[in-house]
Symmetry: C4
Subunit: 252 residues, 4 copies
Amino acid sequence: MTAQNSTQEVQESENNDHLITSQDPQHPANLIPELCSKFWHLGWVTGTGGGASIRNDNLVYLAPSGVQKELMKPEHIYVLDITAQPNPKQRIYLRSPPNLKPSQCTPLFMAAFTKRNAGCCIHTHSQWAVLITLLLESAQNTTMFEINNIEQIKAFGKGYTKAGNLGYHDTLRIPVIENTPHEEDLTEYLEEAMEKYPDTYAVLVRRHGVYVWGESVHKAKTQCESLDYLFQIALEMNKLGIPWLTNVKPIA
Amino acid sequence: MTAQNSTQEVQESENNDHLITSQDPQHPANLIPELCSKFWHLGWVTGTGGGASIRNDNLVYLAPSGVQKELMKPEHIYVLDITAQPNPKQRIYLRSPPNLKPSQCTPLFMAAFTKRNAGCCIHTHSQWAVLITLLLESAQNTTMFEINNIEQIKAFGKGYTKAGNLGYHDTLRIPVIENTPHEEDLTEYLEEAMEKYPDTYAVLVRRHGVYVWGESVHKAKTQCESLDYLFQIALEMNKLGIPWLTNVKPIA
Amino acid sequence: MTAQNSTQEVQESENNDHLITSQDPQHPANLIPELCSKFWHLGWVTGTGGGASIRNDNLVYLAPSGVQKELMKPEHIYVLDITAQPNPKQRIYLRSPPNLKPSQCTPLFMAAFTKRNAGCCIHTHSQWAVLITLLLESAQNTTMFEINNIEQIKAFGKGYTKAGNLGYHDTLRIPVIENTPHEEDLTEYLEEAMEKYPDTYAVLVRRHGVYVWGESVHKAKTQCESLDYLFQIALEMNKLGIPWLTNVKPIA
Amino acid sequence: MTAQNSTQEVQESENNDHLITSQDPQHPANLIPELCSKFWHLGWVTGTGGGASIRNDNLVYLAPSGVQKELMKPEHIYVLDITAQPNPKQRIYLRSPPNLKPSQCTPLFMAAFTKRNAGCCIHTHSQWAVLITLLLESAQNTTMFEINNIEQIKAFGKGYTKAGNLGYHDTLRIPVIENTPHEEDLTEYLEEAMEKYPDTYAVLVRRHGVYVWGESVHKAKTQCESLDYLFQIALEMNKLGIPWLTNVKPIA
């Protein structure tokens, strides 16, 4: 039952509390608690599930494991230097909160930063995300959520290799990976999906939730919101017998 | 993929920040952020979708594009003089926020102000609005939402050409227009619907959302709320097999 | 289209603002706005629909017509002396807010105070209340909502003629009256239901909402909450094919 | 109609208000009101139903009966010494709020403290909990809620006799007991379930709600949240025809 990819977590000798101390509400150590509280009220990070991480140049700020998301504080935040990680089996923190453990989402957040140069990555246990993966599973274990001709699709960027946002008639595609018993073991499957679908900003995890990232906190957060909106609407469409994909002809 | 009706946006040489600076909570530059935050919590303006605009005599105050609606501030607001717009292809702003773009809803809000003399116009991506348009689409592409004999209908004015509000037995009719790839291209269809249905205070946009207006912020906002209530109840009625239109005889 | 029971509304020569001015948060003029804001967030008083009224000895405090419920203030409150009303066709106010109109719910609230000696009466447009009346209508126009063997039923008093609360195995019965085009015309049907069912604390209005009252604000508010909870659960039970009435045998 | 296990409630001669007076937000007399308000907003303790209790060494802090949960204050809290209770028929309080009654949940909370050494016990009337018991009832009166292969299951401890948390492939099992007319009469059935299922952290009560406990407030609260999440998702799975138990093979 031990994770295959288990990582050694190391705290540097000095605990740099100045890295999480700022009066600026836009500082990642202040923003992560604010985001997590907002996500808790949206039902995305129930019971300490899910999390959020922000990268600012070389510094990565991470929500810890096991903290009630609506009660998170700046002093709970981990900080590491993304350029100073010796190998995948060891993680060196510039700043660690006392008495807490790093989130098991850490390697997945790191994948978004290293593979996609993301500025922010969000992980939710949104019920609608989970239900969409269940619907796809019961439809021959499908591994792609696809929807088009819904205005909210335009909230998504076309991807890292393309400029601009999706159009109304474009199809938004979110790959689904299977869940693993240990969250950190998801990393290789997430990275695989990132390579196979280089333009996606999100990956669904079967019976688990969703990872969403973006160039900035603004992008990651608004794409995560838009995606949850689409999951909710897609679930209702399913109940009403309305297909997610249509061939609406442009009228203008 | 370029919008047919794309408009040149011009900022006057002076940036009149005094137009959005006021201690009065009822000032449009304060009201729009308050409304947008409220709408975000109602799920109407998820992921920067949707928006709101207020007209005060000749001045029009507009929410910008791409701002998280629950975080909007007075300094994000655009202002223009409705009487000083040279032609439909050019829009001159008295005040523009730095580093932001005007909302693509702008020409649609302007239609409500110029064609209907509205004091406020709201655009939401409400899921219930979208689902109602999908239900109507799957019922032979119907272009009119109709409901009667629900008390909440009385919250609607009879229209610009008639005094008073709808009665309980009256039928509320909201026309549906088809979506276009570019939001500003919706303008001509919205204006067409306004001319065809001069008494409507709202237009649904297929697979997109709804535009609602009124003589005042109060009217636009309460009609928008009442309409969303009716969309929600209509969706449940559909699931329960209860028709939206009935011939209940007056008992008093 | 004029209401049959339309009432002349009279303001006494002096406008007694001291009646709605208090530092005590429990004062009715402070409590009604707080309740209305809470009810707005519960979706009970959308778009200025619904309302609330409190009686303190002889004084009755009433929310006005047409005010956004989450924005209500003490200065919006009407006050009248219940012992100083000359006849049903005329209502004399000790204190009226300027520029507002009395709520059309006023005679219905008065019925709860005069016929039932209630201390508080609440009217909501709760969607769940409306949907329950629609379900009953589609089941042969039934005029009684009945449910038993749900713990929450115990939140209800047995009634004015009986001590204590309903037991778990008791059946909660809420009569349904038909809606009328003019809200004040509902009064005679509400009073009729009060006489026919002397122990009920609530009456559903078909396709409209519900009136709930109680000896105190606490009782009216908690009964209104419990009833809405039961409406929601009853709607889900209906979708799942589970009957509202069962013959569960006591096991203790 | 009198409860079989009715208990004599005794207040010690001195009323120790210092036991509920603290500036520390983590003090149980401050935490219980904060939790109850949060639970009210989640719809778990509607209409004064449900409650929460915290044990700190020998002292037990209890929410009272009949208080609106979103308005609870430290002065409403009961305190007793768990080691100074003479017999099950008598309960001696170190501190009682004036004009209130102890909650009927008290003996059930005490069972979690004495039988399970819990640090916190929460009782909700969550609609989703009730609906799950109704679904199980309509499926041959089943007395066990079982679900597996949903990530959120990992939020649950394996139990008092086992270290660590449930794994993703483990099955979460929550026993269901039948409701009784008097809440305190539930105690013996709750204790029975605790003995039969020594590792459970929760017991569902048919047509009533759920009791959830944990070593700490953090554990009880996050398990209660996770359970409600699972009830909601299980209800949706039922509507979509997706089974709660599957034989997904580990892929890593």
